[in-house]
Symmetry: C2
Amino acid sequence: MSTTSLDPTVTAVATQFDLATGLTEARPSLQRRLSDMSGMYADTAALSAAVDADDVLTYEFYDFGVPSLETEVAYGTSITYPGKVGDEYFMTKGHFHTRLESAEIYLCLSGQGLMLMESPEGDVQVEEFRPGRSVYVPGRYAHRSINTSPDEPLITFFAFPGDAGHDYGTIETKGFRRIVLERDGAPVLVDNPRWQS
Amino acid sequence: MSTTSLDPTVTAVATQFDLATGLTEARPSLQRRLSDMSGMYADTAALSAAVDADDVLTYEFYDFGVPSLETEVAYGTSITYPGKVGDEYFMTKGHFHTRLESAEIYLCLSGQGLMLMESPEGDVQVEEFRPGRSVYVPGRYAHRSINTSPDEPLITFFAFPGDAGHDYGTIETKGFRRIVLERDGAPVLVDNPRWQS
């Protein structure tokens, strides 16, 4: 079906994602390997060894370059692969929004995991990801996706206000107050020994 | 896993959707039957007969009551069922956003169909829905989901700025400039004979 443009000013954008992999060929993904995660995992020796042995891809996501305006909606998929560094599950770096009050919605398309959230005042919240489960991250909360599956990628679709921006630096410097480790085959939330107040 | 709240102010919200049906038991859906679509279909006689015969559900969607703020993200699923009124496919009413410049992102989870979009100046755009395909509706464009499948529901996940609001009245009064009919088993875009300038 053809598109008719009587007075074209903007164009709708369609993007084909593969629901099984979360990937699209529409543009390159942003990729984070273990070597990009320096300082993010509690077991620094395990991270160092894993980087030397096989610097695997731990997660990737998309940025479609939506204009930085409050009336726009930034969106994309995020794929966190299964694996661990020591006892700590593969995870995203996590970030605050630069416009701190900006919320974000995630819809889990496949896999299983957790959304770890933390406010500047230290309120910590955790929600589970399962296929079809959406998680609404309130404004002011840093958020990190964690894949707790032994073998499946955690695939989510996300959307947030176009002017939210990303503040990665705070988490890169201070870390989250809590981290998620595997204990007896299940995830547990524990204090982060490397957290810096 | 328990949630620790040191200084609880807001709470993350998780909602389980059924990816096969698009539905959730978290709250009641908003439902639109044929009798709610008065004036929306070109073939008024066919609509009237269909309402009398069997006033079926044509689409349903969710409103989670996100605060009307530009830093929030309204979201939910929309399910448009297969069917036709005369030669015109089942569709949503369609709407502008009250804050006209507000964009919206849709991700098709299953089914097939079209997103029909129209600006106040008369620019018409159409994008296809297929599983895994996202459609970014630019700000200022009214938008309507149309199910072109003979038997499958069209299921989408949508997200838009919390303060966008809905203007249904303009479309209810004027209609879209173009409508989508089935011709020889395929969708075609034609002028709306009932459109009012």
